[in-house]
Every structure is written in C-alpha cells, then in structure tokens.
C-alpha cells in the first residue's frame, strides 16, 4: 500500500475545510451555503478517516459514517428550509431572513 505522511492528509483536510468555511462566509445564496457546509463536513470526515488509518483502527471510518448520517439529515432539513424560504420570500438570500435581529 501507499506510504503517505499523515500530515499531508491532514493538510488536505484543513485546506478543504477552509475552502468550505470561505464558501459559507462569502455566499449569500442558501443553496451555496449548504454546499459549503457539505464541503466542511466532508473535510472533517476526511480528517477522521486519515487519523483512523494512521492508527490502523476502524473508529475513524465509523466516525465518518456518523458524519455522513448527520450530513444527510442536515441537507434534507436545510433544503426543505430553502424551499420554504423561496416559497415565502421568492428569494434564496439569507440576508432577507434577519427577523431575529436584536
């Protein structure tokens, strides 16, 4: 099998995570935000898998499966919200739902 230093894998994970973060912060469209969140979740899962593989344990992969479960749940609810948002306000702009300002 391959001999990849664990740092490289983790470095990839953090880069993907940061890109996801940037995406969340710069986009106003709720669908893009959900996509970026997916990227971040995926990157986090990647980190777990790398760590698991480093120690030769299955726990990392199990964590990834849990993250996957959560991501799917999150996406389904999030997209439902997006549909509801568009249905009510005819827009996908998250800035338009700032009713809860102080």
């Amino acid at each position: 099998m391959a001999t990849i230093p664990v740092e490289y894998g983790l470095f990839l994970a953090i880069i993907l995570f940061s890109l996801g973060l940037v995406g969340v912060l710069i986009r106003r469209n709720v669908v893009f935000i959900l996509l970026s969140v997916e990227i971040m979740l995926n990157a986090a899962g990647l980190g777990f898998v790398i760590a698991g593989s480093h120690w030769g344990q299955a726990d990392g992969q199990i964590m990834f499966i849990f993250i996957l479960t959560m991501a799917s749940a999150e996406v389904s609810v999030g997209l439902a919200l997006a549909i509801q948002l568009y249905h009510r306000l005819k827009t996908l702009d998250t800035n338009s739902i700032s009713k809860m300002r102080g």
Partner: protein
C-alpha cells in the same frame, strides 16, 4: 409643702394637655378658666412653697425632688428631678406670678381672636416648660425646658399663621435660638464626658475641683454655654430674631419675649456661675457682649416706628445690662434686674397691647398721639413702666436695679470704667427712646381715635404690674438709701456675693447721682426732640449723616442683611439647586452607560446567518490559536 414642688410645672402642663385635646370643643369661658386657672394654681403653689422654703429652709438651703430617672445608660443617668434653691425660687415666683397676670390679661385681650384655646394651650405649655427650665436639677432637663420654651416661642410668634411674614419671624426665632442651643448641646457633651455628670450642682463642684482657673476645658465649656445663652437671650451676635418676634400677640411678647424666656440665658449663666468663674476670659466676653448689645440695641431702638419693636430692642438692651452684670460677677444684681425688668417690661408690653388694640391694630407710633386722655389708666401704667425702664431716680425699681449694675460694673474686680461708661451711655439712650415712645404715643395732638377701652381684667393686670414695677426695687437699695439687702441675702445661699474693690467702694453715691442725672437729661432731651421741636429732629434724620445712621440703626446694624447674605441665601440656593440630588446623577450615569452598551451589543445581533458564522469562525480561530501557541 416643699413636696408639692413637682406640681408647679406639672399643673400648667396638664392645662396644656387638656386644652390641646378637648380645647376646641370647650366654650371660651371654660378655656379661660383652665388656661388662667392652671397658671394661677401654679402661682399659689409657688407662693406656698416659697413660704415654706423661707420659713423652714431645707438642709443646705436647697431641696431636690426626683420623680423618676429619665435616661439611665451606664453612668449617664439624668433624672426628671427638680432642684429648688433661692435662685430657682425667685425665678419660679416671677414666672408663675407674671405668667398668671399675663394670662389674666390674655383672657380678655385674646377673647375675640380665632384659636382661643390654642393660644392658652401654647401659653400653658410655655409656663410649664419655663418652670421645668428653672427648676431642673440637671442640665439635660434644663435643656428640655430650654427647647420647650423655644418651641412655644415659635408657636406663639406664628400664632396668626395665615400671614407668611409671621411664619417667617417664628421660624427665624426658632432657628436662630437653635444655633445657640446646638452650641449648648456640645457644651453638655463636653461637661458630661469630662465630669461624668450633668447634675448642675455636681458639675459645678467637680469642675471647681478638677479644673484650674482658665483651663482650656473650662473656657470651652463656659463658651459653649454662653453660646446657648446668647441665642436664647438675644444677645450679640444672635440678637436678630427678637425684633421680628414681635409678630406674635402682645401678651406673648410680654411673657416670652420680655419677662421670662429671653432671660433664660441670664438664668443659665447665673446657675452655672462656677464654670464662668473658672473661665475669666469667657466671663469678660459675657460682659463685653452685654455692653456691646445694650449699646447697639439702644441705638436701634431710637429709630423704630413700631411701638413693639422699640420695646423689643429695649428688651435686648436691658438683657445686655444683665449680661454686663453677670460678666463682672454681679450675679445677684443680674437677677435683681431680671426681676424688675420682668415686671416693668411685661407692663409696657401689655400696655402697648392695649394701645395697639385701641388704634385698631396700628403699630406705628407716628400715627398715634394724645392718647393720654383717651386711655388714662393705660397712660399712667405705661408711664410707670417707662419711668422704671429709664431708671427714674428713687421711686422706680429700674433705678435701683440698673444702678446697682452700673456700680458693680465700675467697682467689681473684673469691672472697668469702660464697661461702666458703656452702661451709662446705654442708660442715657434708654431714657431717650423710652420717652420718645411715651411722648409720641400719649402726648401731642390726637391723630386717631381710640376705638376700644380695656376691661376690668386688663386693667387689673396693668395695675398689679405697675405696682410691682414701682415697689419691687426696694428689695435692694444702695448703702446710702437704707441699705436694704433682702434679695442679695436671700440669693447668697446659691450665688456668691459680688466683691467690690475697696478703693472704688466709696464712689457709689457719686455714681448714683451721675446716672440719675443722665436719666433725667435723657428724658428732657426726648421731650425736646420729639415734643417741642420735632421738625428739627426730622431735619437731623434727613441730613446725609443722619440718614445713613438712621438706616443702619433702623435695620438693627445690618445684622439681618449680613446673615441673609452669608448664611440664608447660600443655604437656600444650595438646597434649591440640588433639588434633584446630584448624587443621583452618578446612578443615572450608570443607567446611560448600560443603555449605550446595550445599543452596541444589540447591533451585533443583526439576524444575518453569515455574520453569526463569521463570529463562530473568528472564535474558532482564536481558540485554536490559544491552544496552539500557549
């Protein structure tokens, strides 16, 4: 008989309580019976007690009666207890007797006034308080009476409460005397904390034992007591309240502001004479205060047009004589003058009350005149009172008491020619302003018709007082005129005899002669200035120098103005400008700060999802940084 002593102050107090509670529902006759009767019973009791005191003197010439212990905390245990010696006996007799006569007068004088029962309630309370004051065995009880008479003075000056000016005068009287009282209270703290008692006799005994003559503690204690005395007795520099106090009814002026309460300071100093003997500098201050006050008040009295204000200034001036006497150690002379003054000044005020009533509430002497024929009895009694006040030689009591003071001021070891001279000038002024008053009011052409004639009760009161004003002087006569020493001997049990410098003792006759002449000259001058050539007098007043002096004297040497500017206005300004309590601004500031912070923080709650996400990201970055780099 002495066991009845406690009833003397208590009976007027019972009268007060009765009148205060059920007075408004009683008829005027019943009110008068309770009001006058209680003081009358008190006077009778006082006479009985006096007879028994003189006929069978108790041990040590003093009688103490304790009702109960007022306050008892560790070693501080003043009692509600009365002390009767010759000094307080004299005071009790004068207070009850003059008080009774004035009550009798008031029963008629106030008859048509609103608040008849209120008046008698206050008057009874006053008599009760005054009796507590003079009978008090300890300084705390004396202070109770002291404040009680001050309260009654306040209540009675403001008796006609609907006029705000009266209220003002009343408050002024109370507050100014309270300034003196505060000094006196500090004096009491000092005495108790250094001598461990407030019992007057013990205080004097222990003070004499523990303090050197002129020791700082003795000087301070005496000075503080003097502060109380000048406040109550309207002496310099706290004399300003008394002229305004004339806003009260005439009987009040007679009883409180002439005969009894204002002499409480004299009584206090005489009572605690040992302390003053231990502090010669303060005693000298007493003499100087007396001398200065009698001159100042004399000049002011010259310029007043209000008959009662003239009398008020003359009261201040006469109490100045008493202070002068106290200051030179002539204790019994001061008490003697207090006695004679009580009678003749009460008489003058009561007569002036009749005049004012007859003139339909007119106080201005320049609008009176020629009342001699319209109010003959009042005229004669007023004349007797005025003669006594201006010390008409030989026949009036004022002559004997005032000249005794003048002689002592000259001849006692602490006296001096200057003090005597001041007294002499004062005597001269006294006869001028007194007879100015007599001439303006009773002589000359009638300007207004008398609308009222006094009734029997008023006439009786006037006659009785006039008789005393003439006769009481013979209790104490100079060595070349019978050398009677009834009063001095009686008082010798409680007050030390006046010491006389031997080299000056012989000059008594000459001094008497000089002052007699001065008095007569003064009367003649008054006759000249105000009856013969009033035009010239008027011109003198109008001249530049005269106008300035007149204004100065008229306003009581500008003391009112001074206090108003220095104390009253700043105080009122301070209170009014700080109405909203500047300390609250501090807390208002905290509220403002909170509101500002709230505004800032609520700006961050803007409802934008990405803003919150940014916050989370920044937080994560910072926390990771902390974990990584620390």
């Amino acid at each position: 008989m002495l066991g009845l002593l406690w009833l003397i102050p208590v009976i007027p107090l019972i009268g007060f309580i009765l009148l205060a509670i059920i007075g408004p529902r009683l008829s005027r006759t019943a009110v008068a019976i309770i009001g006058v009767g209680s003081v009358g019973i008190s006077a009778i009791l006082a006479i009985l007690v006096a007879i028994s005191f003189i006929s069978s003197p108790p041990a040590g010439n003093a009688f103490t009666q304790t009702l109960w212990t007022w306050i008892n905390v560790t070693n501080f245990n003043p009692g509600i207890s009365f002390y009767l010696d010759s000094l307080s006996m004299i005071m009790v007799l004068v207070v009850t007797f003059v008080g009774f006569v004035i009550h009798l007068y008031s029963a008629e004088h106030m008859l048509h006034q609103e608040g008849y029962s209120r008046f008698f309630a206050y008057m009874n309370l006053f008599v009760g308080s005054m009796l507590i004051l003079v009978l008090a065995n300890n300084l705390l009880l004396l202070y109770l009476g002291w404040e009680g008479v001050g309260l009654c003075s306040y209540l009675l000056i403001g008796f006609w409460y609907t006029n705000p000016a009266n209220g003002r005068a009343a408050r002024k009287a109370f507050i100014v005397t309270r300034v003196g009282d505060a000094a006196m209270a500090i004096g009491l703290f000092l005495l108790f904390n250094n001598l461990a008692t407030l019992n007057i006799q013990d205080v004097m005994q222990r003070a004499a034992q523990t303090w050197q003559i002129g020791s700082p503690l003795a000087v301070t204690a005496a000075a503080l007591l003097l502060g109380g005395a000048v406040g109550k007795s309207a002496q310099l520099p706290l004399q300003t309240w008394l002229p305004d106090a004339m806003a009260g009814p005439s009987p009040v002026s007679a009883l409180i502001h002439a005969a009894t309460m204002v002499t409480a300071g004299v009584y206090l100093i005489a009572r605690t004479h040992v302390l003053f003997s231990l502090a010669p500098s303060v005693q000298l201050a007493v003499a100087i205060v007396g001398a200065a006050t009698l001159l100042l008040a004399g000049f002011s009295a010259l310029t007043q047009w209000d008959i009662k204000r003239v009398l008020a200034y003359s009261t201040i001036s006469q109490i100045g004589y008493m202070f002068l006497a106290l200051g030179v150690g002539a204790w019994s002379a001061a008490i003697f003058h207090f006695m004679t003054h009580a009678f003749f000044k009460a008489l003058l005020f009561l007569a002036a009350g009749v005049v004012i009533d007859a003139m339909n509430d007119e106080h201005n002497m320049f609008k009176m005149g020629g009342l001699r024929t319209q109010l003959p009895l009042t005229f004669w009694t007023f004349l007797i009172g005025s003669s006594a006040l201006s010390a008409l030689p030989l026949i009036t009591s004022g002559f004997y008491s005032k000249d005794l003071i003048l002689f002592d001021a000259y001849a006692s070891p602490s006296g001096s020619t200057w003090l005597w001279l001041a007294g002499l000038v004062g005597a001269f002024l006294t006869s001028i302003y007194t007879f100015r008053m007599v001439f303006l009011t009773f002589f000359g052409k009638p300007k207004t018709k008398a609308v009222y004639q006094p009734g029997s009760r008023i006439n009786l009161a006037l006659i009785v007082l006039a008789a005393f004003a003439l006769l009481i002087g013979f209790l104490e006569t100079p060595s070349f005129l019978g050398n009677i020493n009834v009063l001095g001997n009686f008082l010798s049990a409680s007050l030390p005899a006046t010491s006389i410098l031997p080299q000056r003792a012989g000059s008594e006759g000459i001094l008497e002669l000089v002052s007699a002449v001065i008095s007569l000259v003064g009367i003649y001058l008054a006759y000249l200035l105000f009856l013969r050539v009033p035009k010239t007098t008027e011109a003198m007043v109008q001249s530049p120098v005269g106008a300035v002096l007149h204004r100065y004297w008229f306003s009581g040497w500008g003391f009112d103005w001074l206090y108003d500017t220095v104390l009253v206005r700043p105080f009122v300004w301070m209170a009014n400008s700080n109405k909203n309590d500047f300390i609250d601004l501090l807390y208002k500031g905290i509220i403002r700060l909170n509101e500002a912070l709230h505004r800032v923080l609520s700006n961050t709650e803007n409802g934008l999802v990405r803003w919150y996400a940014t916050g989370i990201a920044i937080g994560a970055v910072i926390i990771i940084a902390i974990v990584v780099f620390l």
